[in-house]
Amino acid sequence: MVFALRTASVVAFLLLWEWAARVPISFNFPSPGATLMALIALVRSGALLSATVTSLQSLLLGFGGAVVVGVPLGLVMGVVRPVGRVARVYLDVLIALPTAALIPLVILSFGINIASSAVIVFVFSAPFVTMNAYGGVRDVRPRLVEMAQAFDASWGQLVTRIVLPSALPMVMAGLRYGLSRAFVGLIVAELLLSPFGLGRLIMMSRSMFEHDRMFATVLWTLLLAGAALTALARLEARLLRWRA
């Protein structure tokens, strides 16, 4: 029954799209069919693949950096309380700030290259990854720590056997949210920076009025992001099998 409803909604969406393409909202709306054709053409020409590779490079660099820096930082913040309390203020500001506002500054500082887009991806995702790692450590049940201490656990054992496993769910959630933010940063950066990746393909298609190509690339980008997030969610489920 649920499956039927879900299929129905997808069908309804496609029909709506087809209708929207025929109604003159503006010249510009390509139909689902045209979009599909454009997508196939893009894949055949290799343009989509090379743009994807370029984008993924920035993403991996930026997000990878966010994880490598953010998770340990968050853990330290959680364990060393004074550091946590101070650093948290900066992170709260970074999270509240519309990060896109920093993009022109980054571009000025680093130039128009992959380093810039990687830095932007980093800035978009690192604060969330860090805050979640911090939260994970802070929310460790004191009763569990007490219990381990009653069994005369050493400090190292406390960290590796109580704190880290307890914090893992929140760290993973932070990674998931950080990845979705990383994609957001990547796309905004590339739409503005233009010479790179999927963002460039989108902007270029638009300026050449090749709207079917633009739609196809946008769709592809959304699917790519969705696939990456689903993969991460699967990994998380496997790592956290003990959760009810």
Binding site: R6, S9, P98, R176, I202, R206, L222
Partner: protein
């Protein structure tokens, strides 16, 4: 997928120390001329004041805020309505859940060029972007709130003779209110981000346009001044949302 808990900024001494420390370090780094891209905070303050005085900031900010309201209000009204419907009626939920969840974590900025294709390069695109960014968060949180209503409250109300309307108005709606307010608070934060992204991509009006302009023309102190202004707007709107939340939910 929910973002990490929006912690109450327990500002306090740590907060004050952090901010003061930052300002001092910023000023020092600026004066030491570490990079042409890090001006001293005092220069930024001066530039900010000048922009305010000559009306640039006011003009840009009003355009931005107008788009924010034009996009957020419909997102809030529609978002709550859809969220309530999805929470209450399983059919609606199964129809829309896939879309809502997918779009909530998607890089919606990828859709802005699509909006430009539809509306052209106009400020309506900004309002549409604001709507897009905030709508899904509001729907998901409202829906979660309704679904989280304790069954025993529903049973209790039915025992005392509540019909559908009474159940909805006196049980489901009040029970969902905290989650709804959370959704609206998160929605406001997302709306401000959407506002900036939209304005930067169409580069026509508002604070986003100023960011692009000063970036392109290498006017660094002005650029920082606008960034600070954007941050101020983000903080103020988020605080207002928190005040509204506390005012409406006194019973916790």
């Amino acid at each position: 997928m929910k973002p990490p808990p929006a912690g109450e900024s327990d500002f306090g001494r740590a907060g004050l120390a952090a901010v003061v420390g930052l300002l001092v370090a910023w000023e020092a780094l600026g004066r030491l001329n570490v990079s042409m891209f890090v001006p001293p905070v005092s220069h930024v303050a001066v530039a900010w004041w000048q922009l305010l005085a000559n009306g640039t900031l006011v003009r840009a900010a009003s355009s931005s805020l107008a788009s924010l309201v034009k996009g957020f209000v419909p997102a809030a009204v529609l978002g709550v309505a859809v969220g309530l419907a999805m929470g209450r009626f399983a059919t609606v939920r199964h129809l829309l859940n896939g879309w809502v969840n997918a779009l909530m974590s998607a890089p919606l900025s990828a859709l802005v060029p699509v909006l430009i294709a539809i509306f052209g390069i106009r400020d309506t695109v900004v309002a549409a972007t604001v709507f897009m960014f905030s709508f899904f968060v509001i729907v998901v949180n409202t829906m979660t709130g309704v679904r989280g209503t304790e069954r025993s409250l529903v049973e209790m109300a039915r025992v005392f003779g509540a019909g559908e309307a009474a159940l909805f108005g006196r049980i489901y709606l009040p029970a969902a209110l905290p989650a709804m307010m959370l959704g609206l608070r998160l929605g406001v934060v997302q709306a401000v981000k959407g506002m900036v992204v939209g304005e930067m991509l169409i580069s026509l009006v508002g604070l986003g346009e100023r960011l692009i302009y000063y970036g392109n023309t290498f006017l660094i102190t002005e650029l920082y001044a606008v960034i600070v202004s954007v941050l101020l707007i983000a903080l103020i709107t988020s605080q207002l949302a928190q005040v509204a939340d506390r005012a409406l939910i006194r019973w916790k």
